[in-house]
């Protein structure tokens, strides 16, 4: 089930316990590299300049492209996605693949998905997706998303795969949301998750990705997943768990025991920090400052209980 042509070792046979490192920039998303030993923080500028990145395995996270969004916070969300892709293409070390953590489109329109696909495929990299709530707005309530991106997935689009000795799990927490509630996974998906990880050795690094944060960031704005705790309970025995989310259009991190949580920036528009605005709506900044607000941040991920180190560097200015 978890075998992938690229990872010849059987599930559970993996002994490598790498550390994850990531750096982020303006919407281009996160570049994660998996390597033994302690990673060092690397900014995008340095990464672009470097002859080689000392990492045998890297992947990217990109999130919340909201293709079709054209409001004052960013009249050209397609353009900033294009910029993000240009940065990905300029990386000296080609990432193995890209994970998109949802809200590919703004209104689930065919044209929006077409435009997003057209630009993303220019990366030349394999892509893995999970849906955001903006991707399930078609009349079929997600049929358009599943037709495009759901091949080989279960339920509303969840799945897992192995790469380079790492077990990746894509979850969907934007379906069947209940009044007054948060993101929702549902028992069918959680039961599947329990079975999915049952046979894995505890030494296998786990990367979980979903749109809405799986931990409670700010319930007043719905930034959390009501049954997210069950995911963490499932993964408790694993030595290295990394949880990647989007949805809140800003970087927020937390390390709890062996679990590191990280939300990625959007490629489209920023959202306010929790509680700092009347609503979580798009944050409007002066025209010339959009990329500055999106900024560049390099993030150092250290497996264990140490806090994550973030170095923010604006894209412009």
């Amino acid at each position: 089930m978890h075998h992938h042509p690229d990872s010849p070792s059987a599930p559970g046979a993996v002994s490598r316990r790498g550390a994850l490192e990531c750096m982020t920039w303006a919407g281009a998303g996160l570049l994660w590299s998996l390597a033994g030993g302690l990673p060092s923080a690397v900014g995008l500028g340095r990464a672009l300049a470097a002859e080689t990145v000392a990492a045998p395995f890297t992947f990217l996270q990109i999130s919340d492209s909201h293709v079709g969004f054209n409001k004052p916070a960013n009249p050209d969300a397609l353009g900033t996605l294009r910029e993000a892709v240009a940065q990905i293409r300029a990386l000296p070390e080609k990432p193995a693949f890209i994970i998109h953590t949802g809200d590919i489109s703004h209104l689930s329109k065919d044209q929006e998905f077409d435009d997003a696909d057209q630009i993303l495929r220019e990366t030349g990299l394999p892509l893995f997706f999970v849906p955001g709530e903006h991707d399930l707005l078609d009349d079929g309530q997600g049929r358009a998303y599943r037709d495009r991106y759901g091949k080989g997935t279960r339920g509303a689009g969840w799945y897992s795969f192995d790469r380079q000795g790492v077990h990746f799990i894509g979850l969907v927490n934007v379906v069947d949301l209940r009044a007054g509630g948060l993101g929702n996974l549902g028992s069918a998906q959680l039961d599947w998750l329990e079975r999915d990880v049952a046979g894995l050795a505890s030494s296998m690094p786990i990367v979980v990705f979903a749109h809405i944060p799986l931990w409670t960031v700010y319930p007043e704005w719905g930034w959390g997943t009501q049954d997210g705790a069950r995911v963490l309970a499932c993964l408790k025995r694993f030595g290295s768990v990394t949880v990647l989310n989007g949805h809140i259009h800003q970087i927020i991190q937390k390390v709890e025991g062996n679990v590191a949580f990280h939300t990625a920036r959007s490629t489209a528009f920023p959202q306010p920090a929790p509680g700092t605005a009347p609503s979580p709506g798009p944050l409007k900044v002066p025209a010339g400052e959009l990329r500055r607000v999106l900024g560049i941040a390099s993030v150092q991920f250290v497996r264990g209980s140490e806090p994550l180190a973030i170095i923010d560097t604006p894209l412009a200015g």
């Binding site: 089930m1 978890h2 075998h3 992938h4 409001k71 004052p72 916070a73 693949f97 703004h106 209104l107 689930s108 329109k109 065919d110 044209q111 077409d114 435009d115 696909d117 057209q118 993303l120 495929r121 394999p126 892509l127 893995f128 997706f129 709530e133 903006h134 707005l137 495009r148 991106y149 091949k151 080989g152 997935t153 799945y159 897992s160 795969f161 949301l177 209940r178 009044a179 007054g180 509630g181 948060l182 319930p219 007043e220 704005w221 719905g222 009347p278 609503s279 979580p280 709506g281 798009p282």
Partner: protein
Amino acid sequence: MPSAQRLPRRKAGCGIAAITLQILALAPVPGIAAAERTRTDPVVIRIDNFTFAPQTLTVAPGTSVTWVNGDDIPHTVVAQNKLFRSKTLDTDERFTFTFQVPGEYAYFCSLHPHMTGTVVVKASTD
């Protein structure tokens, strides 16, 4: 296990799907206390800053209620008892439902479920 997605070629001449919405030439009715109404004038619930306002609205049976989205983010209006469900409302789009039967109708936004509201339908006691 899924393989990575192969993105399809752009379809030529692919148009933007038209969203058909019930558009009413409806002016908000000024000067009517939102909290307690007994007449059946059409009434508007504003959606601003991820909030339904007024959050609780009382109307007489036969009243048409129109929700107008003033946010830069789409919202929906979905009855918890499934009596009504709007299409996705983008900025300035609206959805109208006419309440005939007395009762309490709790609703929420299915994209942002922390957004909730209630329409109370109550016959006039005059």
